[in-house]
Symmetry: none
Subunit: 531 residues, 2 copies
């Protein structure tokens, strides 16, 4: 018989405690919609009693048309010196009018005394009264036992008593929280066994783990094996300090490997999309190495390895990437062989058979470039342009005839001055020469500004293109400031993102090469790739 | 009785399989030195049989003076159609002349047939013969059982037989590898119990986990609880796809929470420094959310929370951050970093008590610089000069009055031309002005050449100084080519090595700042530090 599990997402509440991760109310509404598409069971939207922004979210969330998920509002038990019916925090939870209410209470004696500043007995009353008061106002009430595992280690009788009170007052699930994230997987197992012994086998438990020991995912899995029916976590593991348990790893681990069933199973192929969407909305880069959903998660280097992967993916991949909506990536690296190139050419719409002599020519050219310091892993647009050039279909829309950069620092005479001049011919070989100049806050920036200024007259669509990121790497080899430099440029417009690369002893020349490829690719894709 | 555990670092081999993480031979030597300072037991340097760069590492590593660590060379078992004594891969392992050799063999039947293209029986012979042949050439021989857990699931008898052959031939530790990273913690426990049953309780096992299920740390801990005496992993979890098991989390979990003992225990306060050092050397940002060592790992938001943390850190932190050399970060941050600053000042020969107001002044200045994008972890010479400047003992031997850099690319007219002019005054304020010019193969190189040319007339000892490495990092913030840039310069003479840093929007200005610090430090240390 299939084992059922429920996923409770707190990206919108606990997730936004992460440093550098913030969401507006509009962002939160968009993310909630997306979480629903993934088949998440519960979406915790915020803490209405602590934050007027969160109260607004709950008001607007009523207009969302969710197919699967129920919205949850989060808050604390009532104030020690108030009655439940007088407590503004509980009032805000009721006013949020969500089908689910989650309240947290104290499990750890030191927190009761030091943070809540009340007695152990009063804390038990508070828990019971808060749950009982809220229960009639929602379809489901979840009780988050804050610091439960630390509390259990300090005084297991007391920690378990807090759970019993919440249970007695009608909580539907008792969620054991590892708030400080210090608990290890084997401790989760021991403690949950003891909790079940004390609360009875029929108790409904949940798990809420943090990643301070880098065990949040494993702790969640171990808790499920010990009978937890609800897992709380966040997309990509965003959260305070080192983050919350990462649902993007927990969901496929449970559904693909451990035989559990959940609403999300039908939508698992959307996992990668949702993971990247949340980063896009929050305007932060998607972490490359994320399990299951990262861009590197199914990336393969090395020719022999690659041909084996093509024949028997299972021998080098723990799951099929398509199951979570990710894809296999073959990295063109200095170990690369012919099978990599054929695979890439297909992606670029170039038809090549493995035994075509052109494949050898491309492999040789790529190897030559790599020996010079080029890397195409993050610069596929440069690789695509290179391949088209080799098969005799060069994509060229302008010719950079030359440039001059002038950088002067002389504080006494009122400088700095940074300026670039360029000459471009459009179209190449036969066209008009545009000669112009621009300044910038550094020499690369000045050169970038000047080239764009020269070209935008001919190609106004270049204005849509934004330089998103710029990376410089000094290559090993000749030591010091005379070394070779590799520049990577990431660009985007409203439809695409692409990476290009340039290498030279001279950082300006390397930047210029990457920039020329980036501009060329924009013009090429607009002309040939739009359907 | 304390339980002993050994740490085997493979950052330099498996770690460099990560996308975007590459190290030159010089970088690897620096990282090896740093790993030794952390008390790591074994450092795997590379695969000499696959890669001439790695062979060079082993040659140069013989000159490292390591206090704790033993260097290991990595390679595969011998070729199915060769004898051990004819196999170039085994030959390369012997020629590496390391105290430790680690060889990997196949455990999974499908890999034997498909990748090795041989019979199951021949694979067993290969394992036994390879181990037996290499064993007399090293102090310790470790056998990595590749894909062991997948192999066990497919055919446990065969997988265990491969281990028995390696054991019979004299392998000191049998390392069970979860090469595809798909194994979950409860499976590790079950499989290791069965392995111990079949191989006998006396068998020495190790664990090598990958993070594709986000369980590599937990899997390593579970393996240790099941008796593994060696843990293989990498700094920050760098590695192919989603990475290897992260030693920066495993080490403190085992030593601070699980009662294990290791050489690294004495040096645990260096963990954060080593973690960040590796990122600096590899020229990639240090991931903020990393457990134990990340900048967010002990960051606290919110006033009440912060005062509670100050009174009772244990209630909101799973460990004391100082134990791993990290620090608590709070909104009002004048407490953070003070002990570090006092510690560093002592190292630099500056006497400061913790309650000296100068400490606050230095902390504030360092924080201001860090907010601008400076980082002093790999640039201690710049920090030292900064501290002397603040305590009123500026170390200044020359004044750079200004510079001008001219970079022209115009192939039709016979260019490129890259030229820099500089004006320096020696000694500062009162001395003679030297105005000179030099060319270079790039603008930074031209500037470097011109400054040295101007100074060498006054300070001929600058000729002894070599610029060993030069790194550029574009900082996040304003996008594209207008972003801030951090330049790190590593210099050396016959006696010392030192790092300096400069930050600016303008890469030439940033380079110039780092260069001026580097030249100044050389002159300072020659005058004041030679005993």
């Amino acid at each position: 018989m299939a084992k059922k599990i429920e996923f409770y997402d707190t990206t919108l509440r606990d997730g936004t405690q992460a440093e550098d991760f913030t969401l507006s109310v509009e962002d939160k509404l968009r993310v909630a919609q997306k979480l629903d598409e993934l088949g998440i069971d519960y979406i915790e939207g915020g803490w209405p009693g602590s934050n007027p922004k969160d109260a607004r979210f709950f008001k607007e969330a009523r207009d969302l048309s969710l197919k699967h998920a129920k919205i949850a509002a989060f808050g604390s038990t009532h104030h020690p010196r108030k009655k439940p019916e007088e407590d503004p925090n509980l009032e805000a939870l009721i006013e949020a009018r969500t089908p689910v209410i989650t309240i947290f209470g104290k499990s750890w004696d030191i927190h009761v005394k030091e943070a809540l500043k009340t007695t152990l007995e009063r804390n038990l009353e508070i828990i019971e009264a808060s749950v009982a008061y809220l229960k009639p106002h929602c379809e489901k009430l979840f009780y988050d036992a804050e610091h439960f595992f630390d509390g259990f280690k300090a005084d297991r009788d007391y920690a378990c008593e807090t759970l019993k009170r919440a249970q007695a007052a009608g909580a539907d699930v008792l969620v054991l929280c590892d708030t400080n994230g210090g608990t290890l997987p084997h401790e989760i197992v021991e403690i949950m066994k003891e909790v079940k012994k004390r609360l009875g086998k029929g108790v409904s438990l949940g798990i809420h783990a943090h990643n301070d020991s880098e065990c949040a995912v494993a702790n969640s899995l171990m808790a499920v094996l010990e009978g937890a029916i609800q897992v709380q976590g966040t997309i990509n593991g965003f959260g305070e300090r080192c983050g919350n348990a990462n649902l993007c790893s927990i969901i496929p681990n449970l559904l693909l490997k451990m035989g559990y069933e959940a609403q999300a199973k039908k939508y698992l192929h959307k996992l990668t999309e949702v993971s990247r969407y949340v980063c896009e909305i929050a305007n932060i880069p998607h972490p490359r190495y994320l399990p299951y959903v990262g861009r590197s998660a199914f990336a393969h280097k090395g020719g022999v390895h690659v041909s084996a992967v093509m024949r028997h993916p299972r021998t080098y991949e723990h799951i099929e990437p398509e199951l979570v909506g990710n894809e296999r990536r073959v990295l063109v690296s200095d170990l690369s062989g012919r099978s990599n190139i054929v695979y890439k050419a297909q992606q670029f719409g170039i038809k090549l058979e493995a035994n075509d002599p052109m494949v050898v020519k491309i492999v040789e050219e790529v190897k030559k470039r790599e020996a010079e310091g080029y890397q195409f892993e993050a610069a596929e647009a440069s690789l695509e342009l290179l391949m088209y050039r080799l098969i005799g279909e060069p994509k060229q829309y302008f010719e950079l005839l030359g440039y001059r950069v002038f950088d002067m620092q002389n504080p006494e005479e009122g400088y700095p001055l940074v300026e670039a001049t360029v000459m471009v011919r459009v179209p190449p070989g036969v066209g008009e020469v545009e000669h112009t100049a621009a300044s910038g806050n550094g020499p690369v920036n000045a050169l970038d500004n000047a080239i764009r200024k020269a070209l935008e007259r001919f190609y106004p669509q270049l204005k849509e293109m934004v330089l998103e990121d710029y990376k410089v790497r000094v290559l090993p080899g000749s030591p010091g400031t005379g070394a070779m430099v590799r520049v990577l440029i990431f660009s985007r417009d409203s439809q695409d993102r692409w990476g290009t690369v340039g290498v030279s002893h001279d950082i300006l020349e390397a930047s210029c090469k990457a920039l020329v490829d980036s501009l060329t690719y924009k013009l090429f894709k607009d002309r040939h790739k739009r359907k």
